[in-house]
Structures are given as C-alpha cells and as structure tokens.
C-alpha cells in the first residue's frame, strides 16, 4: 500500500517528465541544496553552459519568489517581536524541473491573494508578449526604478525568468477559496 502510493506519485511526476520536485515549505538553505543537486544533474546530462546557467537562473528566481511572496505561510501565532520565533516565518510552494524533448522546464506554484491576481496577470502578460529587445529595455528601466510597493527584491525576477527562457513564459491562476488563488508559472529553456 505504502510503496504503491508513493510509486504512483513518482509515476505521475515521471509521466510529466519531472526530474526534480519539491512541495513544501521553502527556505534559503533548501534553495542552496536543491540548486547544487540541480547543477550536478545538468552537468551529468552534459547540458551546454548557457542551458545550465539559464535553468539554474530561472530556478533561483522561482524559488526566491516562493520564499518571499507565497501567501501560504507558517509562523508562530502572536509571538512577540522580542521572541526569536517571531522571525521564523516560512512559506509554502511547489517547484518542479522537468524535460520536454530537448527542453528543460521549470514550474513553480504557490498561493497568492486573489486581490493580487489581476496585477500579476497584467504584469506577466506584458512580459510574456515582449520581444527580447523590449524585455532588455524594460529590465534596464526597472533596474533604475524604485521597487514596487511590497517588493522584497529588485522587482526584476519575472523579467529575468523571461529573458532566460527560450519560449514565452506560461502562467495561470485558479481560485482556491474566498481570498486565495493558486498561481503557476512555467518557463521553458
């Protein structure tokens, strides 16, 4: 029973070409560890330098998006700020890396607030539909700009993903409950 259940899960991932899958709370050390294994696997696959760097770059941005922005988080209830546990907030997401023919695909999913969906959809549509030159121009513009309200980085993550991808990015949202939606983003390299 146990073996067949896990085999089924593995089989399902396998049938979708998935070679790495992580579902759970993501922390920076998880990124480091999975990232090292990913580099090793790409080296074993004899991926060319550009592919290796691009898959890895997309992986880092996708993982950091989950770590920073997933709306599903575990944190100690009402811990006072002086309590070290008050900083122990961790966020949940799913990330897979797989093969599709000669391509690699890096997919990430996490919960977002439903009130953020339209903003994200507009931003991602714009990036998806841009040429590489337009993306380069927007990247430069954003590099100099103040990050958007609520941003915890440089606000360049989605653009970096699109620039490293060899095909247009794909994304989707599905409502989960009254306040949350599930957000999925796929990049092909």
């Amino acid at each position: 029973m146990l073996a067949s259940q896990l085999m089924d899960l593995r089989g399902m991932l396998h049938s979708q070409g998935v070679i790495f899958a992580y579902s759970g709370y993501v922390t920076e050390p998880v990124l480091s560890g999975v990232g090292e294994a990913l580099k090793q696997k790409l080296t074993i696959d004899d991926a060319d330098t550009k592919t290796l760097r691009s898959v890895f770059a997309v992986f880092v941005e996708q993982m950091q998006n989950i770590i920073r922005y997933s709306a599903e988080k575990a944190q100690p209830a009402l811990a006072p700020a002086s309590d070290p546990r008050a900083l122990m907030e961790i966020r949940y997401g799913i990330l897979t890396i797989g093969r599709e023919g000669a391509d690699y695909m890096v997919c990430a999913g996490n919960l977002v607030e439903r009130s953020d969906v339209e903003r994200l959809r507009a931003k991602l549509s714009r990036i998806r539909d841009m040429s590489k030159d337009e993306l380069k121009a927007l990247y430069k513009e954003q590099l100099r700009a103040e990050p958007e309200k609520g941003s915890k980085g440089a606000g360049l993550g989605f653009m970096e993903i699109a620039r490293r991808a060899s095909k247009p990015i794909e994304f989707d949202f599905t409502d989960v409950d009254a306040t949350h939606a599930f957000f999925a983003l796929k990049a092909t390299i």
């Binding site: 330098t49 691009s54 380069k136 590099l143 970096e160």
Partner: protein, 129 residues
C-alpha cells in the same frame, strides 16, 4: 581606511578582493546571496571610503561574474554608479567586465551596465580559457 578588503567566495557569494594600495579591485564568482543587503553592505562601505579619497587617482575594477541573480544585479548597478561618480569627480576609472563566452546573457548584462557609464571607461572582455 583599510589597505584591503578580502572576502572569500562561498557557493552563493562572490570573492571580493579590493587591493586599495594597488588601486585594483575585483569581484569574482557567483552572486545569489540569501540577503543581498547583508552581503553587499560592507562592500559598499569599503568602496565608498576608498573612492572618497581617490581624488584624481586611478582605479581598476574587474567584474568576473559567472552568474548573478536579479537582486544582485541591482547591487552591481549601484557599484557601477559609485565608480562612475568617482570618475566624474576626476578619477581615472577603468571598469572591466569579463564574461564567459558560452553565456551571452552575462555579455548582454555587461553591455547594459557599460552603456550607463558616462565617465568611467568600460571594457568588455571574454574570460580567458
């Protein structure tokens, strides 16, 4: 001012080798730190203190980066801005951007940073080997 700033590379952070006596500063490796501000803060501080006293002196800065994430790109831009500001004040600043010839993304990024330098002299070079 200290004579040197030396930070060893880690898996996620580049080696920093600032030799202020020789006016030769270098950043080498990969950059995707857990916390960009925590890593680059001391680098900015040391650079500010050095450039503040450079006057019309000369300075060479080598960027030999294999990979940087998007948050680090912002920090690199800020380093470039500091170097350009020092050049504007009269220093002779040479910025070298070395890229892996197999990775045109890093070449493009170098070009983008180079375009924004008004006063420092920019050199785009392939990494040897």
């Amino acid at each position: 001012m200290r004579d040197k700033l030396d930070i060893q590379a880690t898996t996620r952070t580049p080696a920093v080798s600032f030799d202020f006596m020789q006016n030769h500063l270098k950043i080498t490796g990969e950059s995707y730190p857990e916390d960009v501000t925590e890593f680059y803060g001391p680098v900015f501080t040391a650079l500010d203190s050095y450039l503040g006293k450079l006057g019309s002196g000369t300075c060479r800065f080598d960027f030999e980066l294999i990979y940087l994430n998007s948050s680090s790109a912002k920090a690199i831009m800020m380093l470039m801005d500091k170097l350009d500001a020092a050049a504007k004040k009269g220093a002779a600043v040479d910025v070298y951007w070395y890229y892996d010839k197999e990775d045109d993304t890093m070449q493009e990024l170098g070009e983008e940073f180079g375009e924004d330098l008004q006063n420092a002299k920019f050199h785009l070079e392939k990494m040897p080997g």
